[in-house]
């Protein structure tokens, strides 16, 4: 059953998407929206009740009678559901960590001057991160130039080596020490402090092999440990090294939605996740020779637009507009206005390879690890990055004359992005008073009820963008500051929630703070790998004081209302293991085992002081669940009731720490 033009309204709240879905339906282009209706979720797999880890099976369990059936090997549904869940964690973690490994190698080469086009840009941040890796000579006081004893590219080289070392090490990760002391102790006590990035992923895969770990609790312990090497390991390393190489994001203004594609320019969409390639394509697109070539071909210029997290990366650092989020990748091509969609890794639908056959659009794969039938493969190599990027851009430019009929929805929305940890610090106090104090103070005084990370994917099993937007509106309306990454940020950007004027939709307290700072009530922090920024922000809130001494004390939560990828599970797991409540929508992959589900949803709170939750009834219920959680945390902190203004006499002043 293909959606008729009338029914597309039920698929999305994004007007550009609705328009393109109608157009696609009329033109008989196949999209994920239609395929989702054709392919129903496997009811056994959906609840984690199918084991295909060996050839004695696959064994399917009856979720309605979880205790009645055992697998051929005797595994019960708890073991099976836990194994499946853990493998999702491992896969998600692996995705981020491969991204990170790639970045780390390029970083080291950049430090050594081996990769023209990549260089160390943010020296203060380099020195700060280097110091955390125990690299001496990184004296932040002398930033801007070489440090006294060591030129900064030498510092960078050591940092690159140590970052790469994090993957193979068995001795623990440097970034783990960033976490609040109390959190590190909890990890130590529960035995989930990770030893090394690769080690934990490999062990996770090994323990879920046939005939290995069968205790769901023991499996989940490794699941936690594995997830930590994502959040506090691979993802964090990727974020930090990318910032050092490409610049730490600062607030930028840009535009979002398919309307950013230009009728009279060569349109190149960069899609995927890793900025290494996207950055270079953006540089190459400004090459005067190529711009001239575009003009010779009849275009007015070369227009780069981002999609998914590649888009987020170059949006945050350069203000390059976003064409859309995950479920819009096919629709972008369907506009007929895209000369090339350049992709690297993660969230690239194989469907693109077939779809481009209907258009002049070239799908260009660039990663040796991601090839798609129907695509042109131009392999990206950092050592010749700019030339390869130019080849990619040239391919697109030369494709321009082949463009046929176009149909670009005339929809764009303004947005402000670029809220790195450093930006938040700066925007709350300027260069001289930079700190999280105003955030903490306004949480304590109740103007801001709490902070919630709304992140994650799109999923055609729910109305596109709808849950993201309504949840976020509900949260800010209740004075909750929202921080975002990934496709969720793009969804809200399209709705106009990422501009400062959106503060009018916020509750009175949050609105006052937004107006004082000049910030939107919804802060775009970056790509999904940048969820690490949210961990850093939470840690900073703890460090700043007044909100307890662990992430689990904070009035915060995380939420992925339209999730679909295994990365989302890995991210959720590391947030839970770090002490947060994490709420997922759409579907929950362990419901086949009520025992495991109860463990994750309830018993986890005793172990990690954080837990999983699932709410699929809609944004309103999800928001209510989160607000209730935040109120409880506020209650525990003793800040739920308005405090009397404290006036300081001399004695009270002496008690203040200076």
């Amino acid at each position: 059953m293909s959606p008729t033009a009338e029914k597309t309204n039920e698929n999305s709240v994004c007007e550009a998407t609705i328009e393109m879905l109608k157009y696609s339906a009329e033109s008989n282009y196949d999209t994920a929206f239609q395929r989702a209706q054709k392919v129903k979720p496997c009811p056994i797999g959906e609840v984690g009740a199918c084991c295909k880890h060996c050839a004695m099976g696959p064994c399917r369990f009856n979720p309605k009678k979880p205790d009645e059936i055992k697998g051929v090997c005797g595994a019960d549904i708890n073991t099976v559901a836990a194994r499946n869940f853990c493998r999702m964690i491992a896969a998600g973690t692996a995705a981020h960590c491969e991204h990170s490994r790639h970045v780390s190698h390029t970083f080291l080469s950049a430090a050594r001057g081996d990769v023209p086009g990549y260089k160390i840009q943010d020296v203060p941040k380099l020195l700060k991160v280097a110091a955390e890796f125990g690299i001496v000579g990184g004296d932040p006081a002398t930033y801007g130039g070489d440090t006294k004893d060591k030129p900064f590219n030498k510092v960078a080289e050591e940092l690159g080596q140590k970052a790469i070392g994090e993957f193979g090490t068995e001795k623990g990760l440097y970034m783990i020490k960033r976490a609040p002391q109390k959190r590190q102790e909890i990890w130590k006590e529960t035995g989930v402090t990770p030893r090394g990035i690769d080690r934990e992923i490999v062990e996770m895969m090994s323990r879920t092999h046939m005939g290995d770990d069968a205790d769901y609790k023991n499996l989940m312990l490794q699941g936690s440990r594995c997830s930590l090497v994502d959040g506090w390991g691979g993802s964090m390393i990727a974020t930090e090294l990318q910032d050092i190489m490409f610049g730490t994001p600062v607030p930028v203004r840009s535009k979002v939605n398919l309307g950013v594609l230009k009728n009279d320019q060569v349109n190149i969409i960069v899609h995927g996740h890793n900025p290494l390639m996207a950055e270079m394509v953006a540089v190459a697109a400004r090459d005067p020779e190529l711009v001239n070539l575009a003009k010779q071909k009849g275009a007015k210029g070369i227009n780069i637009a981002g999609m998914c997290c590649s888009g987020n990366e170059i949006l945050l650092r350069h203000g390059i507009p976003l064409a859309g989020n995950f479920l819009q990748q096919e629709l972008a091509i369907a506009t007929g206005a895209v000369e090339a969609m350049v992709v690297d890794v993660q969230c690239i639908m194989p469907a693109l390879g077939r779809l481009v056959e209907c258009f002049h659009t070239k799908l260009i794969t660039t990663s040796p690890t991601v090839k798609i039938q129907g695509a042109t493969h131009i392999e990206f190599n950092e050592h010749d990055a700019l030339n390869i990027a130019k080849t990619i851009v040239r391919t697109a430019v030369e494709n321009y004359p082949k463009r046929g009929k176009t149909n670009i929805p005339n929809k764009t929305t303004d947005l402000i992005a670029g809220f790195s940890h450093e930006t938040i610090n700066y925007m709350l106090g300027g260069s001289f008073r930079a700190s999280y104090r105003p955030l903490n103070d306004n949480i304590i005084n109740g103007r801001i009820r709490g902070v919630v990370g709304v992140v994650g994917c799109n999923n055609p099993r729910v109305k596109h963008d709808d849950v993201h937007i309504n949840l976020v509106k509900e949260l800010i309306g209740n004075d909750i500051l929202v921080v975002q990454t990934g496709c969720s940020a793009i969804a809200c950007a399209k709705e106009g929630l990422l501009i400062p004027e959106a503060a009018t939709m916020a509750g009175k307290g949050l609105r006052e703070v937004c107006e004082a700072v000049g910030m939107p009530p919804v802060l775009h922090c970056g790509a999904c790998v940048d969820n690490s920024r949210i961990l850093v922000a939470c840690t900073e809130m703890v460090r700043e004081g007044g909100l307890g001494n662990d992430i689990s004390d904070l009035p915060v939560a995380g939420c992925a209302p339209e999730w679909m990828s295994e990365k989302a599970i890995a991210i959720g797991q590391y947030f839970v293991t770090s002490g947060a409540l994490v709420v997922f929508g759409v579907t929950w992959p362990t419901t086949g085992s009520p025992t495991l589900t109860k463990y994750l949803f309830e018993e986890y709170e005793k172990i990690y002081k954080g837990k999983w939750a699932f709410e699929s009834r809609g944004a309103g219920q999800m928001a209510a669940m989160i607000i209730d959680h935040i109120n409880k945390k506020r209650e525990a902190l003793g800040i739920q009731k308005a405090q009397e203004r404290k006036l300081y006499d001399m004695e009270a002043r002496r008690a203040l720490e200076v």
């Binding site: 105003p438 103070d441 000049g518 006036l647 001399m650 200076v658």
Partner: protein
């Protein structure tokens, strides 16, 4: 609303920075890059750039990097729509404005005539604008912010709606013990002009300080705050984060903006917010209510003039305990510095013109009727203007915890208590006191009996823990005064004998003073009978009384315990106490040594002693002395090096009085080690010093000691010592 404030502040910063750029380039052309620029008599260079950026600017050319820094902090004004966050930009622009101010103000000191009168107090005629405070004023006044005598300051920008309002606001701030820093103007008029019109006495002494009529002179308020952090907070130059945080937590200042607030004034307010100082505006300029950079709100407006102070105090989070004393004139520390000229005096008492004395004595509880105030003899209303009267003040106190030892402690406070009434002047103590009551105060209804009212109220407020009842008899008939003065004199002598005979050996208990730990967390003052606190204001008796008054306060008994080293002055109990109280930073202390584990130094010491190795002796310099000393450092630099609770052999902070103690540097040979001190300190201590020197067998020692008129380098000191054959040369080697 916030965006409007941000826009105006950012625009103001741009204007100020371009003005600074122009004035700088003019000065460069006129004077060349090597011309000296400095604020008068300060060791802190231009204090904002020194404190925030660690710059040591002392030439016109040296202003260039400061200007560059200011420019680098400028940001564009927020866009009409879809703006990026502007708070950080605004605060940075505020700092840029302060840097620009500092450039402009420093160049004013190159102008002829100088737009400022470089004095502590405003001259009665002519230019009353004082400009930057020098280090002597800053130390003297800054310490009041540390010990709480002054809870903060109000930076008053512009002119009040009327002269009457200006006077009213000034008086109200004075009564709250706040300093009033005045700058900038509206239509050519400023608050200070209004106070001058009303004949109000201005200057540091009355806490009404006019900096300048130019908006840029607001910088002197922030320069004062910055230096207070450097001087008393142990903050290092360039450590902007700590300096600003210190100001937020310790210096409870705020901005009162009167009349129209233009872009440049907005920029000053943005600069002040960096310090945690909020702005209260009379006119409607919008508000920034959420907290964070400041303790509570950042900008509040519009506020009616009569409500501004109350609002400001609440917004700054300041708790001011002012116990209203039932007298018909204002009362507060700010009135301590008032002058009362002879022709303005209604009645004058004492001052060697008539017999006078003041005396506190303890009685048993049933001998005292609380709040019984008697004037025995003529009242002020009985005599014509210009009368001289004898006066004898006898304050009789009773309380279960009152001890004879506390009498002098209470009595010593009479000076402050009486002097703090508006239009009442008090000087001296015991039978050397001198009181004037002004015509103005007499007109307001002030009587001699009100002196009793003040004593009664203040004794209860400040000594409530030991005093239950207070009655005051004031004699104004000659025969009564003479009779009672003899009784008082006997008591004075008895006390002196007792204090004089107190030695460190005669007691098992010393007292700590941890008051200064607010800014020097590892500093522990140990006060013994023969070594007063470093600040000079706490002796063993005061500490003992203070402990009785507040058993959990900063003065705690320190059991001496076993003697570790009698010569160095080290005791086991003392060391244990210090280890605990210094948060384990200091494990041992020698009370009588400069070389071996000397006492830590806070920041408010009266003097700093330093070893001069070539001279085999010790120099000491008091805080009033602004010149260079033979150790190569001025007092300010020494204070910065030694202070903050460190224990540095070769340096020690001490009180003036300690110089003439038998225990002064006992381990190093005592007073004979002294080879240099400022002339003023010599004069100050002469009588007591000569007595001590005589006892040491070198009666002319004071004259053998070099001062700044003889030597300002160590080499010159050595040459002098050899010339006069100073005894230090024959003492064992120090190093």
């Amino acid at each position: 609303m916030s965006k409007l404030i941000a826009t105006r502040a950012i625009r103001g910063a741009h204007k100020l920075v371009s003005r600074a750029e122009k004035e700088f380039s003019d000065a460069l052309k006129k004077h060349g890059p090597d011309k000296k620029v400095e604020f008068p008599n300060t060791g802190y260079y231009l204090p904002i750039s020194h404190g925030m950026l660690g710059m040591n600017i002392n030439t016109v050319g040296g202003l260039q990097p400061l200007l560059d820094k200011a420019k680098s902090l400028l940001h564009p004004i927020p866009d009409e729509n879809k703006w990026v966050p502007y708070l950080g930009h605004t605060l940075d622009c505020g700092m840029a404005a302060l840097f620009a101010d500092e450039i402009i103000e420093s160049l004013k000191y190159l102008q002829d005539p100088l737009p400022y009168t470089v004095m502590e107090n405003c001259p009665e005629d002519g230019n009353f604008w004082l400009g930057a405070a020098d280090d002597v004023i800053m130390r003297k006044r800054g310490i009041e912010f540390v010990d709480g005598t002054a809870p903060g300051f109000a930076a008053c920008v512009g002119a009040c709606p009327s002269t009457e309002v200006a006077v009213k606001i000034a008086r109200e701030l004075q009564e709250k013990n706040l300093y009033v820093f005045m700058s900038a103007s509206n239509n050519g008029k400023s608050m200070a002009d209004q106070l001058r019109e009303a004949g109000v006495q201005m200057g540091w002494e009355t806490r009404l300080v006019p900096f300048g009529s130019d908006v840029t002179s607001t910088i002197h308020a922030l320069g004062f705050a910055t230096r207070a952090a450097l001087s008393f907070g142990g903050v290092k130059p360039g450590d902007y984060a700590r300096n600003l945080k210190y100001n937020k937590m310790r210096i409870f200042a705020f901005v009162l903006a009167f009349g129209e607030v233009d872009d440049e004034k907005h920029a000053q307010a943005a600069g002040a917010i960096n310090y945690g100082f909020p702005a209260i505006s009379e006119t409607d300029i919008g508000q920034i209510l959420p907290t964070g950079v400041c303790t509570y709100e950042h900008v509040v407006s519009p506020v009616k003039p009569e409500e501004m102070i109350q609002k400001a105090v609440e917004v700054r989070g300041l708790k001011i305990q002012v116990h209203k004393i039932p007298i018909p004139v204002s009362y507060g520390a700010a009135f301590e510095g008032e002058r009362i000229r002879g022709e303005d005096t209604w009645v004058e008492m004492g001052g060697n013109k008539t017999p006078a004395f003041e005396f506190v004595t303890s009685k048993s509880i049933n001998e005292v009727t609380d709040n019984k105030i008697e004037v025995i003899g003529p009242e002020i209303t009985d005599v014509p203007a210009g009368t001289q009267l004898p006066i004898g003040i006898v304050a009789e106190v009773a309380g279960r915890k009152m001890q004879e030892d506390f009498e002098p402690v209470l009595e010593r406070r009479l000076h402050n208590f009486i002097n703090e009434a508006q239009g009442v002047f008090h000087m001296g103590q015991r039978d050397q006191n001198w009181i004037r009551i002004s015509k103005e105060s007499k007109e307001k209804g002030f009587k001699i009996a009100h002196i009793g009212t003040i004593i009664h109220a203040q004794f209860h407020t400040e000594f409530g823990a030991i005093v239950d009842k207070v009655q005051v008899k004031i004699y104004t008939k000659q025969e009564d005064v003479l009779k009672w003065r003899e009784i008082a004199k006997k008591a004075y002598n008895k006390r002196d004998e007792r204090v004089g005979s107190m030695t460190d050996e005669s007691t098992d208990t010393f007292y700590s003073c941890l008051l200064c730990q607010s800014f020097a967390p590892t500093h522990v003052c140990v006060v013994s009978p023969e070594r007063t606190g470093l600040c000079g204001s706490y002796n063993w008796f005061t500490c003992k009384a203070s402990y009785e008054i507040n058993p959990r306060g900063p003065n705690q008994p320190v059991p001496k315990g076993d003697t570790v080293d009698a010569l160095k002055g080290q005791w086991k109990g003392c060391n244990e106490f210090i280890l605990q109280s210094s948060r384990k930073a200091i494990s041992a202390m020698s009370a009588y040594s400069i070389m071996s584990e000397p006492m830590t130094s806070c920041g408010c010491f009266e003097c700093i002693a330093a070893v001069l190795p070539l001279a085999n002796g010790v120099m000491t310099v008091s805080r009033e002395f602004a010149g260079m000393t033979p150790c190569g450092m001025k007092f300010s630099t020494l204070a910065g090096t030694v202070g903050g609770g460190q224990q540095i052999p070769g340096f020690v902070g001490h009180s003036k009085r300690y110089v003439v103690s038998k225990k002064f540097l006992l381990a190093e040979g005592g007073i004979k080690r002294l080879v240099w001190m400022p002339k003023a300190l010599k004069d100050d201590l002469r009588v007591l010093f000569e007595a001590r020197a005589k006892a040491e067998g070198v009666p002319n020692l004071l004259d053998l000691i070099a001062d700044e008129t003889i030597a300002t380098t160590e080499e010159e000191v050595v040459a002098h010592l050899q010339k006069v054959n100073h005894p230090a040369l024959t003492l064992p080697p120090l190093m």
